[in-house]
Amino acid sequence: MRIHLDHNATTPVCPEAIEAMEHALRASFGNPSSVTLEGSRARALVEQARERVAGLLAATPEQVRFTSGATEANNTLLFGLLAPGDHVVSTRIEHPSVSAPLERLAARGVAVDRVAPDAMGCVAVDAIVEAFRPQTRLVCVIWANNETGAIQPIPALAERCAERGIWLHADATQAIGKLELDLARTPVDSIASSAHKLGGPKGIGALIARDQKAIPPLLVGGGQERGLRGGTENVVGIVGYGAACAVAAAEGVRRPQALRALRDRLWQGIVERIDQVRWNGDPARVLPNTLNLEFRGVAGEVLLQALDLEGIAVSAGAACHSGAVEPSPILLAMGRTPEQARSSLRFSVGSGVEPQQIDFVIDRLATLVPRIRALGAP
């Protein structure tokens, strides 16, 4: 039995989503664009899912544009909204699905400012506001960072952006299901979301925006998603996504509370039994499920692999395509040295993790960390 402490990478698909998807696969193969009974049944499933996704975030269904995931959602927003001459303020802690499009846009004449975080991985509202220019079209800030879990001050930023009429986009992929997001009360203009980070399947996500018409489609074709995203709907994925959102909505605050209890149990056990450990983050401003730790003098890659062989999945820095681990650019942006970044691991708990699994992980860490420290860094 594997112990999955890598929920920020992906989550197991929740039973409700599996059931809903299986039903959709077997009983609703129709094309939602068809006028036939099969089509209308599939269409009904898609619209029900849209309501569920919107419901979790206190958004309206019309604000939900299904995409293949958060990468497509971020790309759609950035390439759709920005034109040469525009200015965008972003951060140094964005996911590659934001930073890579921004790089490309910068090469096309979009001015890009990327604000650095503090040592805890948070960007300051003032630092963002100070970067504003008359041409500032967009502020793009990750709601909570995937590696550290650091929560960014999106509500405060939203107000400052609203005052100036600047569009605020937040990649909320990691925040959804772990924080209570209320888009009815937070004047953020758009967010990106991905189903497989909250118990849904891979290959489906959404761009959720207050004014969808302001964002042209990235994919044009048969006019699906009210002309906002061409391509036959991924009905099964959408259904699974909706089911996962419905489960998260039903659990409400109990989910983050349970995650926090697990995460804090892990942290308590680690600090009690292992010395020279530092939390790469401010506990008061971190997702309840995430624990990014530096184990001084430990090669994180070796610890990750040793844990994996013990049946425990965690994550370290940025893996290149070959699978080798490189120092995390996020931790480097936070001012960590390459050595410190290389000594850091991310633990991210999720639904289904048991307290005794946490205790087993603590136990294994207490054995492995001193052993790997004794090896020294290559």
């Binding site: 890659e301 070796v302 692999q305 040793a306 070959s322 699978g323 080798a324 790997i372």
Partner: protein, 377 residues
């Protein structure tokens, strides 16, 4: 196929020295040899963990992607766990930079030797310990024999001499050899490929890489110049033994003792590089007979048995990878080096290359070896 030897009542696999169920890390390069080594570890009943060592950070490409992917596919086929170990920084510092510096100092280095000693059988062995594994297996063609009584490990040439790689393994310490395994050391290349084919390994017919892994097209001068750009500007004279200038060269890193081609001088005699003088940036050339050495000083000698012999010993000595060893007398000098007197002159003793000592009678067992410092006529 794998007979077993017993040690304290335990059954150990002849090829790997590992007990059933024991964890063994296999260094998998993505080639056929290490692929089959992994398969043989699996067959022995041990739990194999495949690791590809990422040794290069060159260019925009992550590392040798296809090779790591091949190794991963073999591991999947064998049903074993697989990881990539990132050693790019250390390897650049300890092996690649040292390689360039050796050339600039007029030596002809063999980077595979420090790579084996410090990466495969030091860093990787250390990682194996963290994984609860006691042993590292590689796809080298070499053989180990364990003496049950003393626990001593002896190192022998591959059964098929043309593939033998002990020339690159002589520097392993006894503690490293104890925990090494060379599962394919008694097989021929054809057998290795045949078995790999039977097992359906994607690497079975993969072309062999003879080059130094970080010198892809064999142009080591270019590699040296990219690491130490000043090398490209260090031109100097080509002289004969009497100091007469015969031409100019574009850096002594482009030359190795015994080299005949690429001198760029017209002469009615066949000229060879006989010596490199880095301080004066001189390449000294002479005739074939000037290359003959009656002896050589060897430094950083490793004795496989662990201790240097007190009295002079007889052995066969090999001074290049593709060199037929010659009988010689070896005298340890008490400071970690040795003096070697060849029975008959040896051609082209290149400083930086290895001198590896084998038993005189059969030329099979590695007694020790070191790095050539200087030869004498």
């Amino acid at each position: 196929m794998g007979g077993v030897e017993t040690e304290g009542g335990r059954s150990l696999d002849r090829r790997t020295g590992a007990g059933a169920g024991e964890r063994v890390v296999v260094a998998m390069s993505g080639g056929v040899d290490s692929s089959l080594a992994a398969a043989l570890v699996v067959r022995s009943g041990a739990e194999a963990i495949g690791i590809t060592m990422k040794l290069s950070a060159s260019g925009s490409r992550c590392c040798s992607l296809e090779d790591a992917d091949d190794a991963r596919r073999v591991a999947e086929r064998l049903g074993i766990r697989f990881f990539v170990a990132n050693y790019a920084e250390g390897f650049t510092r300890e092996v690649v930079d040292a390689f360039a510096d050796a050339y600039l100092a007029g030596r002809t280095p063999i980077p595979c030797i420090p790579c084996n000693q410090r990466f495969k059988f030091d860093h990787l062995l250390e990682r194996a310990k963290a994984f609860g594994a006691d042993r590292v297996a590689t796809g080298h063609y070499a053989r180990l024999e364990r003496e049950p009584a003393s626990g001593r490990v002896r190192l022998f040439r591959a059964r098929h001499r043309e593939k033998d790689q002990t020339y690159f393994l002589f520097s392993l310490r006894p503690t490293q050899l104890e925990r090494a395994a060379f599962p394919i050391g008694d097989m021929s290349k054809d057998e290795v490929r045949e078995q790999a084919r039977l097992l359906g390994l994607v690497t079975a017919d993969k072309a062999e890489s003879q080059e130094i892994c970080f010198v892809p097209d064999g142009d080591y001068a270019k590699v040296v110049e990219s690491i130490r750009p000043e090398a490209a500007e260090a031109e100097g004279p080509i002289v004969d033994e009497r100091g007469r200038v015969l031409g100019r060269h574009r850096g002594i890193h482009r030359f190795t003792v015994g080299q005949r081609h690429g001198l760029g001088i017209a002469s009615d005699r066949r000229l060879y590089v006989v010596r490199l003088e880095p301080e004066r940036r001189r390449v000294v050339v002479g005739e074939a007979s000037d290359l003959d050495c009656r002896g050589a000083r060897v430094e950083h000698v490793n004795w496989i048995g662990g201790e240097a012999p007190r009295a002079p010993i007889r052995a066969r000595v090999q001074v290049r990878h593709r060199h037929r060893s010659v009988p010689a007398e070896i005298r340890a000098d008490g400071t970690g080096g040795a003096r070697v007197e060849f029975d008959e002159p040896v051609r082209a003793v290149a400083p930086g290359q290895a001198a590896v000592f084998y038993d005189e009678e059969r030329d099979e067992e590695v007694i020790g070896g070191g790095f050539l410092a200087a030869g004498w006529r």
